[in-house]
Amino acid sequence: MDCAATTPVSKQVFDAMTPYFCENFGNANSLHSYGRDAAASLNTAREKIASLLGANSTEVYFTSGGVECLNWALKGIAHAKKDKGKHIITSAFEHHAHIKACKTLEEEGFEVTYLPVYEDGVVKSSDVEKAITEKTILISIMLANNEIGTIQPIEEISQIAKKHKIPLHTDAVQAVGTLDINVKNLGVDLMSISAHKFYGPKGIGVLFIRNGLKINKLIEGGFQERSMRGGTSNVAHAVGMAKALEDAIAGQEKNVAHIKKLSSYLNKRILAEIPHTTLVGHKTRRVPQINNFCFDFIEAESILFRLDMQGVCASSGSACASGSLEPSHVLMSLGIPIERAQGSMRFSINKNLSMKDIDQAVEIIKEVVADLREMSPLYPKDQTLFKEIKRNEKSV
């Protein structure tokens, strides 16, 4: 239950990619027939992706994945527009790569406003408008959060960005196959997506850059990607990504209905059958595949390993699990107390799971949580005492 981390390459995608490794292996920049064939396949993949995103094929740039897209969008726009101003607006709970790129820009002298996301994990579009100054050169807000799944009001923010003539980027990495990612409907100027999150291969992503938008290169090199991104074109992966995106959008309605059913069942059972558990973020404004729970009194790394030993794979943003001293910046940005955030687990549901899988997983989760609580010095064995503490907390 960790499809938000990555997904397997589907058989259909794998089959579409296979000819491009040993047979049609040409360099898309070569002038001979092998090269021309590769260039044609790359072009077809680009056109397919463009039409699926509601974009022009000259607006689709292949990259090495989501992290490169985010770095390029931020640094590319910042450096291209620094003469106009040095202010960027974003949210406090963007992907790590995004936050780190912002920190680097701050070191270079840019000013970054990290908007609050409140308890429900949703940016307020009115906050975006309030943060705009004459020096604002970019607004970048994710479409769906990768740890808690909450959906951001990109269409509303787009109206504001348009009014103030500020380019808008969205990180849609977790939204493909679940939300509408048509760039016209969203009204964005830049958008990042990554193939391995939707049954495509790892190591390829697309940055949509609206035609006419001034942006600097991130990776210097040859004439690939309309001279905007150097490096030999990864034709096999581009073909795979196009097929994966096609399948993700074609199956979207059916998959979302299925995942929603599984997700609401999982939520209902976990919250009803495991006491002292909370669902992180907005209850409904979320992509159904990402569900993040805080299990009080226990630490998530130990939950993760125990679940893994019993065949349930999940992930965690707790300090121990992430190898840092603090729980994830996402959980902290929602104002979750640190001790509660230590017990945060993300279960992301892929389209291939069944109700039976969820039932099995819930039984294992229940057992693991109960066992670890039994070991915890924080877990009040006497539940009447716990109620007493709760009452006192409320009266304070």
Partner: protein, 117 residues
């Protein structure tokens, strides 16, 4: 990241719980830090006859508590005072560098319990 021995100890830890008439009890760490251990010792004629723990923390914290309590039982208080975090790590066949602090936490709680006594 963890070796087989650590995982085995973590999956089936021994000496979990509390001792009602413990001779000494100590607590180290906090939930904010992500690690917390409470150690209960029963000491009779300077010999640790029983040791139990309650731990909030990662797999390494639980494994070190389990091994640590096992190492304590049967030892005299003087012998117990000589146990270091390195001894616990050796007993576990090694810990990842980022998890060494878990063994330090057990050494601290053990020393604190013996000091309180």
């Amino acid at each position: 990241m963890y070796n087989e021995k650590v995982l085995k100890e973590f999956m089936k830890p021994q000496n979990i719980g509390s001792i009602d008439n413990a001779t000494t009890v100590a607590e180290v760490g906090s939930p904010q830090c992500g690690d917390m251990t409470k150690l209960y010792l029963k000491i009779e004629n300077n010999i640790i006859t029983d040791a139990k723990f309650q731990t909030f923390g990662c797999a390494a914290a639980i494994a070190t508590s389990s091994v640590g309590t096992r190492m304590l039982i049967g030892k005299s208080t003087d012998e117990a005072k000589k146990i270091t975090n390195k001894d616990i790590i050796n007993e576990l066949g090694g810990l990842p560098p980022a998890k060494i602090h878990c063994s330090v936490m057990f050494e601290e709680v053990m020393q604190k319990a013996l000091e309180n006594f």
